[in-house]
Symmetry: C2
């Protein structure tokens, strides 16, 4: 069976690798011929505005997904006319606009930091472009900077959070639901640096809350596939930050540290196949490799085959141990080798 | 770094997939353009007797391995003149001839069933061709059949074993050694059908014995890479059956059921990189898919992308559970779905 992926970055590459292992035939569409995912399947390197190529691609594949919510809506619409695209347009429309997304959360009763459309008169808080921001781009902390953009923005309260979490859920075409363990994420300048899975010392009520929120999002959107919800922990409460309608960096540990990876379960969901177990196989610490990779890959390293460039996500290391202490000890070894 | 693989069957394919994940660039040489591994890397589909192509391939790669001990020695010799091939010629020479192999075991003090060169006058026992047998081919039980071959053969005592085991070990270029848990293998007509890992209810002295034997083989051959030793359990003792100087079907469970797969550790050994943990992440049951694969891949299924054909190894399922009972319960589900 041929399965399509719009976008051939590392997420597309890992989706393709999982597809190959499952006996599927992955096709990747990405305008950049150097995109690292192209080498993991049948490569289609054409512009997203090339209707003819998009249509030809869409007619070849039995179903299609995307690795990134900022793939142009028009391209997804064209593909959708010829094959089934999951997650669908509803999820894309919500997640491409931060204001729509926050309003959607509010409508579902999911708590968020305070927010409203940015009108230029606030002096504190965070201003974010409504569209096309990722990895901390298109964001300004009003205490430190003025927004440098003509684009429409959203203002958000700056919350003094204790920790950041990510809850990944998956919903199958059949309606089957599964949740990965709650993950603590450590970010620097808006970029995920590390993740701890399962998150440590978390109030079970918060975990339950996170699952219920993700479940309500999945149901409301009649969602098919993997979805990640990023959360703040503020004084024992959760606030939703943003969602990603796709496989997510905070779930990369599932490839080596979980019974079934997020990539495999994404395909299983799209195909309506029974979902695999989301159980962690130990205490896991995911370390993102930014900028460059060690020449000698540490055990548990996954490299994306991307050219090194400052700050770029070029790989990750998944450490798995019997206890948080054991995995932290392994991490010390990785960091000392890296220096 | 470019790494070469002679042979592009499922073992080559899984080696290539592991290489890609580690940031290596796999090149596969196999005369059959339809071989399933070709799609997992740079494909070279030329005959093993094509010296020019072999040399060209060898000059391109930084190091090389093989997926199968019956790759022609002459081809390995040609490649060896231009790049480092591991495991080396010593391991190949020993394992391509059953009589040499058994004599080698004897010289290391490794117990085996009784054996001697077949001279045609035995009426009981097993006769095997000395060369080119695999998956039960080229073998005759004298109780049931007469050898149908002009080839040189070895006679072996037929041992009334209770169980069959496989011990996989890995030795790095640096001399570092690691052992996977002992595995019980279930065979039908010489073909591996299932494997239980770690093997259940095994006398720790036998496990120790299996490791020591593998260690002595690895050291004696100055071996680099993964090696499997197949064993019989006979009345509380071990007897060595045969070795495979490569990644092995009895280790396929390590891809999903172990901290580090045999495929990754094979490359780590060849590159002299620190070996990854060989710890199982639970109780594992590997089920080979022979002939054809279920259309809906069960969780834990790995498909090789091969054309279905009766008896052919076309995939496997790795079930991982908290206990032997839990994993056996999962297996019941797989078998009932398959019927």
């Amino acid at each position: 069976m041929k399965v399509g992926i719009l976008g051939a970055g590392q997420l597309g590459r890992m989706l393709a690798a999982a597809a190959l292992q499952m006996g599927l035939d992955p096709w990747l569409y990405d305008p950049d011929p150097a995109a690292c995912g192209h080498r993991a399947g049948q490569s289609w390197a054409y512009d997203y505005s090339d209707t003819e190529q998009l249509e030809s691609f869409a007619r070849q594949v039995d179903l299609c997904t995307f690795e990134f919510e900022n793939v142009p809506v028009e391209a997804v619409q064209i593909v959708s006319r010829h094959t089934l695209v999951s997650p669908g347009m509803a999820a894309l429309a919500v997640s491409q606009d931060r204001l729509h997304e926050k309003n959607f959360f509010r409508a579902l009763g999911i708590a968020t930091p305070k927010f409203h459309p940015w009108e230029g008169n606030e002096t504190q808080g965070i201003v974010k472009t409504r569209r096309l921001g990722y990895d901390g781009k298109g964001q300004w902390d009003l205490d430190r900077a003025s927004p440098q953009t003509e684009a429409e923005c959203i203002w958000e309260e700056k919350v003094p959070f204790q920790r950041e979490f990510s809850q990944i859920g998956v919903r199958s075409r059949t309606g089957e639901l599964a949740y990965y363990p709650l993950v603590e994420t450590l970010q620097r300048e808006g970029i995920l640096c590390e993740a701890l899975a399962p998150a440590r010392e978390v109030d079970p009520n918060l975990e339950q809350q996170a699952r219920e929120w993700v479940g309500s999002i999945l149901e409301a959107l009649d969602y098919v596939g993997v979805l990640a919800l990023e959360l703040f922990e503020v004084e024992g409460r959760l606030l939703a930050n943003e969602m990603a309608p796709r496989v997510h960096n905070s779930g990369h540990w599932t490839d080596r540290g979980c019974r079934t990876s997020q990539f495999e379960n994404h395909w299983r969901a799209l195909l309506g196949w029974p979902l695999g177990s989301t159980q962690a196989t130990g205490c896991v610490r995911l370390i993102n490799l930014l900028g460059s990779v060690p020449e000698v890959a540490p055990p548990g390293a996954t490299y994306y085959g991307k050219e090194p460039r400052p700050g770029r996500k070029v790989g990750h290391i998944t450490l798995v141990g019997e206890s948080p202490e054991a995995v932290d000890q392994q991490a010390l070894g990785v960091f000392s080798d890296a220096t």
